[in-house]
Amino acid sequence: MTTALSIQDLRKVYGNSFEALKGITLDVQQGDFFALLGPNGAGKSTTLGIVSSLVNKTSGKVKVFGYDLDTQLAQAKQCLGVVPQEFNFNPFEKVLDIVVTQAGYYGIPRKQATERAETYLRKLGLWDKRNERARMLSGGMKRRLMIARALVHEPKLLILDEPTAGVDIELRRSMWDFLTEINAAGTTIILTTHYLEEAESLCRNIAIIDHGSIIQDTSMKALLQKLDTETFILDLKDDFTELPELNGYVIRPRDAHTLEVDVPKSQGLNELFKFLAEQGMEVTSMRNKANRLEELFVSLVDKNLKQERA
């Protein structure tokens, strides 16, 4: 299988001596939907900035579909589409002009650029807004405009830096569907997001970066299997008078008729429900306290922080 993105021993030291990347190595395979996660300031945007030529690296190698950024920059850039975190289009330009102009930078003639712009603006629900100035669009529309702009030259690798930040749930889900569709059509996608539910739903492989180092690089499935405890919230029909205690489970009260229970993966839920039924407690509903990936993410980042401090 072809490697879509290959990063080897990538380092970045900013002018103020801050070491943002401490020699990271990472491979993303063609066709993958890859999550690059990390807390704020971990080095995600620096990594993607170097890959997209917006940040100069200090050392290391980056290849996009085998094209070395140092020696075959133009070919590497042809393969790459970038949706940045911040809005970075000219707000005074018309929506259609922004997309057509971007196509022009890739050498696509105006007629063909206009046809492609129409295709992607229609797919992203922006065709009706094509003659509006970009500043008149809502936040969600601006995000979709940046996706249309990044796709107009039909890149093989699409980098999305928090594409759904500030987007409402309905729109976020429609964007997920769209991204899943283009990934299924063959576009490799690298995604950073703070919505871990998003990464869990969309991505097959994941890397977690913290303090400039990769602390996890594995498949989503393998990572989630590492989760040995899940926390559930149980709503009871009646108020409880005494907090129940069950060996192997940690049970905490949230209020008079709600319990928070840490459930070890080795023990499961059956034993808990059986126990609660024996105690005369009827459970009316149940939900995860946090997204599974979120629990893992927090524990991994905490662990890394403790190791760094030690």
């Binding site: 850039k77 289009f89 930078y105």
Partner: protein, 257 residues
Amino acid sequence: MNTRLLWTAFVTIVVKEIRRFTRIWVQTLLPPAITMTLYFIIFGNLIGSRIGDMGGFDYMEYIVPGLIMMSVITNSYGNVVSSFFGTKFQRNIEELLVSPVPNWVILAGYVIGGASRGLGVGFIVTLLSLFFTDLQIHHLFVTIAVVLLTAILFALGGFINAVYAKTFDDIAIVPTFILTPLTYLGGVFYSIQLLPGFWQGVSQLNPILYMVNSFRYGILGVSDINIGFAFAMIIGFIVLLGGYAMHLLNTGKGIRE
């Protein structure tokens, strides 16, 4: 990128730049037209009629080439400095930086875009001047070549200024404190022959004097300076500033972290 792709990318940048300054024509094309009309009325007609001849020509005829050149210089410079700084400020420079457009095409696109505004305004001012005087071009090649090269030179200057600029103040400092004084003292309104010897020598250190005078030579056939030297100097400055602008782009100064 092959030649066809490069050409498409170059034309895209130039068209984007031309669309920008024509979209905001009230800010870009109208003010110099009004300012220059006032210069023609006040300096050319009202005051000029009392001054009499300058360099063997009616004062209005004498200042018209200088005023056209002043418009070309300030607008070529102003277009690139504001456009490229705005592009940096709004971060839409990233649209270009992630694309495969080589740096020399980015520079050429902005410079030709800026020169287009300079030449466009120069053309408007030339048309306006026809309401006040008859223009007969003495040397067409010199006139066209010098105005074209000057527009390119100052567009390059504007580009370098924009690369270094971090605030809106930074894009106003050079035009206000360097470009405007040099233009006014560059023989737009007078022949340096009127100055005492020492100040004639000082004036000859001003590069804008050579551009204004060679353009005036192209139109009127009179000049305070040697035309060949003026061309060599303008081309020399273009090579120097062009090389420096490329160095800035290649190192990512002010545009890449």
